[in-house]
Amino acid sequence: MNVINDLLKIISDFVAGIVNSIFSFSPFLADVVTMGLAAVVLCTFAALSFMGLTYVERKVVARIQDRVGPNQAGPLGLLQPLADGIKMFTKEDTTPAAADRWVYNLAPLVIAIFALTTYAVLPFAPGVVGTNLNVGVFYIIAIGSGSIVAIIMAGWGSNNKYALLGAFRTVAQLVGYEVPMLLNVLPVVMITGSMSLTDIITQQTTLNGNPGIPFIVFFPLSALVFLISGIAETARSPFDLLEAESEIVAGFHVEYSGMKFALFFLGEYVNALAVAFVFSTFFLGGYAGPVLPPYIWLLLKAAAVFFIFMWLRGTLPRIRVDQMHNMNWKFLVPVSIVHLVVVMALMKLFVTSPAQVQANGGILVTPGVQAAILFTASLAILIGSLLIAARRARIMRLQEEAILEQRRAENIAAASA
């Protein structure tokens, strides 16, 4: 056993061994305690990464906007998250007089719970996973839809019109973007033949444990659409319509202060980081990688994806409600469906295992050839759909200009008459 490569596995086995020897009278109780410890570790990891990410994000966005960012608390402002935490803890915890108390107070807890439960199925290294569910992919999507409930609870419980408006926007956005997200996880699930995240990573490694072809090469379109809908699902900029400060003050969390607000903030970051982890697992090969230990590889990949999130946040303006819906229902969903059908047919036609050829027919190819075929098809659909969309946008723009021109002419005619 390579100590550095299997560090997490060795530690978890060691702790599980201790727990098992203490609770040797009841294996069930030992299991419960081990699982409880794992849950504590995962939640602590998520909360700590939330602290780090706020600092990194502020620094990165500041650099994009030609500012310095936090630089007062500690060297390079490194203690800023700590200062923020102390500020959040000591702030007055207010409750609006007209609020629905139970719902109002439960909402931040619910959002934090839903955000943290995603981490239960993420594999961090071979054998190091909270629980290897055989419906892991489905579980992640389902838990993601739970945060909608929390946001509605916050919007309603606050008894504030801006909060309610934010909650209304949430449902339209989060429910809508679940569709392309699901449609683009499907190719990955189909080529793996399993919904377990561990199986998906195994499929992206070669038999001797070396990194194989990641699924982003098989399905570049799926990866792109999954990334976009993942950003929309976590309501990060440019999809942060539900908390648009300039339109509806701060949306659903306008009435929250102190620790409750911090929990919403935590939910947002933990969710975004979970999407980064899930994206690296689905499309970038998860913990598979050469030389470096697996958990470092996973963290590096997730950090790279999260950097894209921060980059977009610093670069793009917030999109309008109608643009957001048009993009989803008129572009992402149809393109995803076409892509799904084409990819499905190609996967049936070009198979990699001889057993499948015998059972269902098809042409036997190596994984590399299959990847090349799928990559070409996926990229062709992506470029084709973008060309069609651009053409259509130009026609619509010309029509609008023609209408404007006509109105201008009418106005001139009316003025001169």
């Binding site: 629905d100 055989n134 419906v135 489905f138 579980y139 389902a142 739970g146 409930v149 679940e178």
Partner: protein
């Protein structure tokens, strides 16, 4: 008692408690939230049955979609928040539902093993030539018999049963068709109409009104519109 039984009792009590809250509270929004809690409990029961797929589907479909729709119906209905329901038939309804469920349970549920069909002439109407075991409903495992574990391939089996001609292909396709029709209908109702269509509709409406007025005038009930010139109708349709 095994740990599973304890868990089952705890979850079942939670489900029942939140379900009772749903039907007794006067705050509709809280009722919807407690319904979500009940759905969660049912997902927990699925987990106890080793049916992870259905537990997750329960969360995704019932909590992620249906409850959200219910909450929105509550939020969008004006005056719902302050409304006090005045339904005095709650007790009668509860008794009726209890009786219906008891009968269904006796006929088709796990309790059917304890009743002798031959002794109940009414029951033999529904299940004349069947032994009590074959009536259908939930599989009943007698005490002492070991429940077979859920096979690992149950997700694939479930998926195949949906596209198998001999199993659930037809219901599956029918539901898909229904969903398509509903979606198309919703889009048709909510779509933005083109100006030309709006003008056409108004023209049709104006023509219909003119025809009606003509018919009325002929019948002698309304003398007025006869003096209306043809151009008047055309000019109303321009707006």
């Amino acid at each position: 008692m095994t740990i599973q039984q304890v868990l089952f009792i705890v979850i079942a009590l939670a489900v029942l408690g939140s379900a009772v809250f749903v039907v007794t509270t006067r705050n509709l929004f809280r009722a919807a939230l407690m319904m979500i809690a009940a759905f969660f409990g049912i997902a927990g029961l699925f987990v106890l049955l080793d049916a992870g797929l259905f537990a997750v589907a329960q969360v995704l479909i019932y909590i992620g979609a249906i409850s959200i729709l219910v909450i929105f119906a509550v939020m969008l209905t004006r005056g719902m928040q302050g409304m006090v329901p005045r339904n005095s038939q709650a007790t009668a309804a509860a008794v009726t539902v209890a009786i219906v469920f008891a009968v269904l349970l006796l006929l088709f549920g796990p309790l059917r093993l304890t009743i002798d069909v031959a002794r109940w002439p009414v029951l033999s109407l529904f299940a004349a030539n069947t032994s009590p075991r074959d009536v259908g409903g939930i599989a009943w495992t007698p005490p002492g018999q070991v429940i077979p574990p859920v096979p690992d391939t149950y997700i694939a089996d479930f998926g195949r049963s949906l596209v198998d001609l001999n199993q659930y292909l037809l219901p599956f396709l029918l539901i898909a068709f229904l969903v398509d029709v509903v979606l198309a209908g919703a889009i048709f109702i909510a779509r933005q109409r083109r100006p030309a269509e709006v003008a056409e509709d108004r023209q049709l409406q104006a023509e219909e009104e003119a025809e009606e007025a003509e018919a009325m005038r002929r019948a002698g009930a309304l003398p007025g519109p006869a003096s209306l010139p043809e151009g008047a109708v055309a000019s109303t349709s321009d707006h």
